[in-house]
């Protein structure tokens, strides 16, 4: 065979500028990885933390440029890289949320890494890589690309979960997360295969067009829905795919837990919402009931099981499960308000959960081990500012007024009511009441349990708890303080003046094909 006869490989045209945020994060990660081999000392640790924040901010600026391009310009939302990537407001919204998680996570990691003597830039490198995978998931227009993004996100997170190698529970969390995560990835891949079998493509736009014009009978497509839901349901920690969450959240280093809860959940939902709204939108009568069940189970199981926890990290893990249920309400409603509500919820949640885990990381102190309820005893007297911030985060998660948490719940529930799903709206509100109980329990311990044992708090910390709290006062590194301050400011300001953020979520529309 002559060499000249071989057909040249056709490479798709790559519009690099449209991928700027991911490229900035990956480039930053590689740069930091190389730089990290030259110097390893305290100055380098601080510099790499600042560098990561700068990279995240640069990615934010890049996505701001894209946002202007997509919303104002003549070009508008469009497809790129041979239709595999879609550049629309929706993808940019998640890019922003994930970049914020990176910035806050890096600030949080600084104090933690120094305290645990784990100073090495690889932590931040992994975080940036993981984030780039999450962004890819949000912008992908092809099931294969979503899978790629999912793997980039997950593999970095598996390593991060086990980052504290000296701690057994950190290693255990990593193994658990890895084994179950691989399973769920396999499920997802199987779902991709079945969907391909039913529709003849992995491209979301093609699938949507195919389903709009053809009637698909038989169980193959339903199987595809189911397996895709299992795979992504695992990532977003929806019941009944939540089993790993409490153990991994508890065992992983606290900054990792915060980042995982914010970024992995946002990325998982980005893919989930896009697949089901835009590709399977016409088949909503088939998947709405399944999502209904998942949402109700997540809210109820998450809230009820959180009540019996005595470890704050575990409690927040269960609460994050119930939050997944609330975001699913927006998907279940399957209307424009629903998707905007889910987006707003996830943005609000990113700041809330990172803020919460930031406080937990500080209270856990050296060894990252003091996360049981009694460690929070008397925090209001010891560190009033920290206790106040935590109280705001918890109340916001419970849905207290004038915070983002309230508006987030209000948004998704109003979407459900608009779609006439009254039952799920009422269940959501009642689950919120149950959830309020355990958020208040933490607040009670911080503010009121200085001289009294409260029902449900184990009495072993009685007396001793106060003494130890005083003995090793909670230290607040500047970086973590800034992170908590930003999260607090966002929670209150966006709670009081939500219009710009609601507009952001509303205009972050999916490019429908």
């Amino acid at each position: 065979m002559m060499l000249g006869q071989v057909e040249p490989l056709v490479l798709p045209k790559v519009e690099w500028s449209l991928l700027a945020p991911e490229l900035i994060l990956i480039g930053g990660a590689l740069l930091l990885l190389v730089a990290g081999t030259f110097r390893r000392d305290k100055a380098m640790a601080a510099a790499s933390c600042v560098f990561t924040v700068a990279v995240a901010v640069a990615a934010l600026v890049a996505s701001w440029g894209l946002w202007l391009d997509v919303t104002d310009g003549d070009a508008g939302a469009r497809l790129a890289v041979a239709d595999a990537v879609v550049v629309d407001g929706y993808g940019i919204f998640f890019t922003v949320a994930i970049c914020c998680a990176v910035a806050l996570g890096a600030l949080l990691a600084f104090g933690y890494l120094r305290q645990e003597r784990l100073e090495s830039p690889s932590f931040l490198v992994l975080m940036m890589l993981s984030a780039s995978g999450g962004i890819l998931m949000a912008k992908a227009n092809d099931l294969i690309l979503i899978f790629l993004g999912l793997e980039i996100l997950s593999i970095a997170l598996y390593v991060l979960a086990g980052y504290h190698q000296r701690q057994e529970r950190s290693r255990e969390a990593a193994i658990k997360y890895f084994v179950l995560g691989s399973f769920s990835s396999a499920f997802f891949l199987y779902g991709v295969a079945l969907t391909y079998g039913a529709t003849g493509s992995t491209n979301l736009g093609f699938i949507a067009e195919f389903l709009a014009t053809q009637t698909v009978t038989g169980g193959v497509l339903m199987g595809g829905f189911a397996f895709l839901l299992v795979g992504l349901g695992f990532k977003v920690a929806a019941v009944p795919f939540h089993m790993w969450t409490p153990d991994v959240y508890q065992g992983a280093p606290t900054p990792v837990t915060g980042f995982m809860a914010a970024a992995a959940k946002a990325a998982g939902f980005a893919a989930l919402l896009r697949i089901f709204f835009s590709a399977f939108g016409t088949e909503r009568l088939d998947w709405q009931p399944i999502v209904w069940v998942l949402a109700v189970l997540s809210m109820v199981v998450g809230s009820v099981l959180a009540v019996v926890q005595t470890d704050v990290k575990r409690m927040l893990a269960y609460s994050s499960i119930s939050h997944a249920g609330y975001v699913l309400i927006g998907l279940q409603a399957a209307n424009d308000r629903g998707i905007a509500g889910s987006l707003f919820y996830l943005l609000a949640y990113t700041f809330l959960i990172l803020g919460s885990f930031a406080v937990v990381a500080l209270v856990a102190r050296e060894g990252d081990s003091r996360t049981d309820l009694t460690s929070f005893r008397g925090l209001a007297r010891d560190r009033p500012g920290l206790a106040f911030a935590f109280a705001v985060f918890l109340l916001a998660q419970a849905g207290a007024p004038f915070t983002t948490g309230f508006l987030a719940k209000f948004y998704v529930i109003s979407a459900a009511v608009e779609a006439r799903s009254y039952a799920i709206a009422i269940i959501a509100m009642l689950a919120a009441v149950v959830a309020t109980f355990f958020y208040l329990r933490i607040i009670v311990v911080m503010y009121m349990a200085q001289d009294q044992t409260m029902a449900g708090v184990s009495p072993e910390g009685e007396g001793g708890g106060v003494a130890t709290a005083v003995a090793t006062r909670v230290q607040i590194p500047v970086a973590a303080g800034i992170a908590i301050g930003i999260a607090l400011a966002f929670t209150i300001v966006a709670g009081l003046l939500p219009q710009p953020f609601i507009d952001f979520a509303r205009h972050a529309t999916l490019l429908r094909l």
């Binding site: 007024p401 004038f402 009511v417 009670v444 009121m448 609601i502």
Partner: protein, 509 residues
Amino acid sequence: MSDSLPILTLLVVIPALGAAIVACLPGGNERLLKMVGATVATVVLALSVALMFDFDADLAGFQFVSEHVWVRSFGISWKLGVDGISLFLVVLTGVLFPLAIVGPAVHKDVKGYVAWMLLLESGCIGVFLALDLFQFFLFWELVLVPMYFLIGGWGYDRRIYATLKFFLYTMVGSALMLVGILTLVFLHERATGVLTFDVITLAEEQSLASSTARWLFLAFAASFAIKVPIFPVHTWLPDAHTEAPTGGSVILAGVMLKLGTYGFLRFGLYLFPEAAVDLAPVFLTLGTIGIIYGAIVAAMQRDLKRLVAYSSVAHLGFIVLGTFGLSQQGLEGGVLQMVNHGLSTGALFFLVGMIYERRHTRLIAELGGLQKVAPVFAGVFMVVMLSSIGLPGLNGFVGEFLILIGSFVTRRWWAVVATAGVILAAIYLLWAYQRVFHGVPEGENATFPEMTMRERAVMAPLVVLIVLLGVYPRPVLERIAPSVRELVTHVEEHSDYRQPAVAAGGAGR
């Protein structure tokens, strides 16, 4: 009317700002903190009194309305307005808060106490003035948080249990109400194409099916009934009121119970007139049961504070009776009685708090003969108690009498049974007075200190108002009447209910 000054917005914002200022002050200087708190609360009082004088008594609709778009995409506005029904509740709030901040001794963390109190005041006034359902719900939820901390932080022995119970009960009600609000709003959007949370628009341009309206009314009513509280969802009240610190009990009984009865008037009757008329017998019955049950249980209490708490269940039953009696007089009496109950029960909680400060017990059996050693104290207690019983010449009589004659015309048998409650109130309060103040003081009771000047200063405004409203309630009723008349007309226009001509007179003509 001054158009330039957004007086209603100031009434809501000033206490919240005050709370923020107090939170930023150093915690050590207790006098300074109380001074700042009292100053802010007094400014609010002055504004509310100015509002009362500026208020046009002949107008029935909302006055001083200030409206600003808040969240455009949801049709949510910052909309405040005051009418005859809410006016005196705002003034009552203005009167009770400075007293609750200055009056009781605060044993720890004065800064937190004052800050939460001011935030609470902002929330309460917000509920009374809000004319946007979203905003109303925000304030409705907002009042929970400071009260939760006040009971949990400064309360008595079983405070944690009481505060959680209070919070969770109210949250369950709110949960149903929010779904009700959203359903109402979206049904309205579907019918008219306009997405709005504006109460007036939703009430006046409504086209709900009767059965839908009934469900929505029940969703709202669940929340209000828990807040009032109406039998059988009253069980949080005795715990919360008893375990709360004195200031908290005063505000809880004086202002926060009115949020529920006010909700029935402003949102229950106004938004769902037909459903309210249809379901009135249910609420009348529950209200009457509350009157009798509250009185009997109060009589059985050994704890003085618990006795006062249960008396609230009975008194609020009267207000429910007046509200659902749906007659001009009954509703006027109901609104007036909200103010009266706030004054007299607020004063009673102050007095019980003073007794506890002196004797460190609230058990009736351990007290006795206090009249001999503290005659002024006993005298003040006597006046307040008689006002609570409803003795002619004091404020309680005017309200209860109007409620009873009003509902007698429209709902005769409920009124007849409820009248027994007046007698029962005399029994449990007089009996308690007798056991606590009569007889020969023994042991520690013999050295029971007389009222201090500060305590007299706290009680004086309340006693003056109690007597004033009893002797000359006309200026108040005059302002209440037009708004009540319009509400009754609104109900008549939107249902087949017609109030008998004899009941339409009203007292405020």
